[in-house]
């Protein structure tokens, strides 16, 4: 679209802007990575060139894994993300299927409600929810977040799946119905197996959303043993005014890796979810 010819034109209109965005996007991760393997003498010296590592060390990782509860936090984060994603996929499907396939009074209203709930940000609800969780005596249990994360994830999954379900042809279900299958059999045996790509997209997205969640985890989980990675890193690796930057960066990097690995395997599904999440 910008006029320009030959190699110079291509550099100017492609590699210059793309390179700029790449450096901007990736520098903080580069900085995270090299900080985590620098010895403290290098970290807190103003005389060495900061952009490269002169004497790499794994000390910060060893400290992080042996002196803090980081592994436990990772386990908690995974458990919470997997269970709340599973709950949300099942309950999201139970909302999305009727909205995509059935004709009934009130369908429009329910679809609007689901979309609206999907858009309600947590800061609007966290104070009353904190009181509810207290009264249910669920403070400092993983159950507290496993119950509350699906409040954001169910509407999200339902919305994404609704869009996907509409693209699946109806003919197979109709054929199964004519052959005498009841509705439940049709959904479970015929329809759902056709929707795997939709479930992968919604599942990946829900998984990254629950890994990212911070506010509910911060409020509901105040004991070391039940904390998630984001809360543990903020609450326990920053002690007063003392920052253990090496350990913090090691923790930030390790905490990002599960999401990054899963994401790298399913990039296309993730992008489909990203664009699908705003269309419906």
């Amino acid at each position: 679209m910008v006029t320009g010819h030959g190699r110079l034109g291509r550099v100017l209109r492609l590699w210059l802007p793309v390179g700029f965005f790449l450096v901007l996007a990736l520098f903080p991760f580069y900085w995270m990575a090299i900080t985590s393997i620098k010895p403290n003498a290098e970290l807190y010296s103003r005389n060495v060139m900061p952009l490269i590592v002169h004497a790499p060390t794994l000390k910060h990782y060893v400290d992080l894994l042996t002196k803090t509860s980081f592994l436990l936090w990772t386990w908690n984060t995974m458990l919470i993300a997997i269970v709340s994603t599973a709950i949300s996929l099942v309950l999201g499907t139970m909302l999305a299927y009727p909205l995509a396939r059935m004709r009934f009074a009130g369908a429009g209203l329910i679809a609007m409600t689901v979309a609206a709930v999907y858009l309600v940000p947590q800061p609007l609800l966290f104070i009353p929810l904190a009181d509810v969780i207290n009264r249910l005596d669920l403070g400092n249990t993983l159950t507290s977040v496993i119950l509350t994360y699906p409040t954001m994830l169910i509407p999200f999954c339902a919305w994404l799946l609704l869009g996907y379900f509409k693209t699946v042809p109806k003919e197979l279900e109709e054929a199964a119905r004519i052959d005498g299958a009841n509705r439940v059999q049709t959904v479970l045996r015929i329809f759902l197996p056709l929707c795997m790509p939709g479930f992968i997209s919604a599942g990946i997205f829900a998984f990254t959303l629950s890994q990212n969640e911070f506010l509910y985890a911060l409020i509901f989980l105040t004991k070391t043993t039940v904390r998630t990675v984001p809360v543990g890193v903020i609450a326990e690796l920053i002690r007063g005014d003392v920052f253990y930057w090496g350990q913090l960066m090691a923790g930030a990097l390790l905490g990002s890796i599960p999401v990054a690995i899963i994401y790298s395997f399913f990039v296309e599904h993730y992008v489909a979810g990203l664009t699908g999440s705003i269309k419906g």
Partner: protein
């Protein structure tokens, strides 16, 4: 007779069973039964807290003590609280500037990526990283990059000739606001860029060919072909971005805790301070609810728009 009377109840039972399954087979009955569990779940953990939050905002309610109804007193307190107004201004500035930067930058990113080149999928995957990595973790990295004593950003600036020791990114009130806006933009820009890229890829190439034949230059093609076709998707992405930037919490909580001197305090972080820090659940709920009018307008607009498209 005896044979008939033996048979009748059996017949009626199977008729009953069939009529039950016919009833269950009706689309409306099946739908509502299927939706009952998720709807009850959302009603009890979203609907109920939402209403309960409104009730809380009308109470004087210290944590772990029973509340007393005080009417609109909390809202009156907020109205006379200069910090509350500062927080309101901060939230609007933060949302407005960050959204504008993400929109312009995201459009630039989408246009740059909408060309053919090798390893395009890899580049796209890498560009999305800031958006998928847990915000708190990448924000900690930014905190270290802007550290008062060992900021790599400042060391680069000084190396380029900036007077020592370089700007105090998180210590100076206006610079702190600029910093959180930049980091929010850094995180949200890929979302804009990649969704707009998906939109760009649906523009039929014939339209550009026709425009070229009609003598339209690069800018004119962008202005009269690309932009009008992208408008719906730009609108939706922007509404999304505005809603979640307006109610942002974690980035500010981690980076500045709302400081220095409330310069970066937003509705969400201020409500958190009052409710969780000072233990005033009622007053905190009223601050959180101050977000509701703006959010309600945005959410309703977006919901209607998404239904229509």
């Amino acid at each position: 007779m005896a044979v008939v009377s033996d048979r009748l109840p059996g017949v009626s039972r199977s008729v009953q069973r069939r009529s039950l399954s016919v009833w269950l087979d009706r689309e409306s009955v099946f739908s509502w039964l299927m939706m009952a569990v998720p709807l009850l779940f959302l009603a009890s953990l979203v609907g109920y807290p939402f209403v309960y939050g409104m009730l809380l905002s009308l109470q004087d309610r210290p944590v772990a003590q029973p509340g007393t109804f005080v009417g609109l007193k909390n809202f009156v307190i907020n109205f006379h609280d200069p910090i509350f107004w500062q927080v309101a201004v901060n939230t609007f500035v933060y949302t407005g500037v960050a959204t504008l930067l993400k929109m312009v930058g995201g459009l630039g990113l989408a246009l740059a990526m909408n060309q053919h080149f090798r390893m395009k999928n890899l580049v796209r995957a890498l560009l999305l990283l800031p958006f998928i990595v847990p915000t708190v973790l990448s924000t900690v990295a930014w905190m270290w990059m802007l550290d008062p004593a060992f900021s790599v950003v400042n060391r680069l600036l000084v190396a380029l000739g900036w007077p020592k020791p370089g700007p105090s990114w998180l210590g100076d009130p206006s610079l702190a606001m600029i910093s959180i806006i930049i980091i929010n933009t850094w995180r949200g820009l890929p979302f804009y860029g990649i969704t707009l890229l998906a939109g760009l890829q649906t523009v039929p190439p014939e339209l550009y060919e026709a425009a070229t034949i009609d003598g339209a230059g690069g800018w004119q093609q962008f202005r009269y072909v690309t932009l009008p076709l992208l408008r719906p998707i730009i609108l939706i992405v922007t509404l999304f971005s505005v809603i979640f930037t307006f109610a942002d919490f974690q980035l500010v909580y981690v980076l500045t805790h709302g400081g220095p001197q409330n310069a970066t305090n937003l509705f969400a972080t201020y409500a958190f301070d009052i409710a969780m820090g000072a233990g005033q659940l009622g007053l905190g709920a009223s601050v959180a609810l101050a977000m509701l009018p703006a959010l309600a307008v945005l959410i309703v607009a977006l919901t209607i728009y998404m239904r229509r498209s």
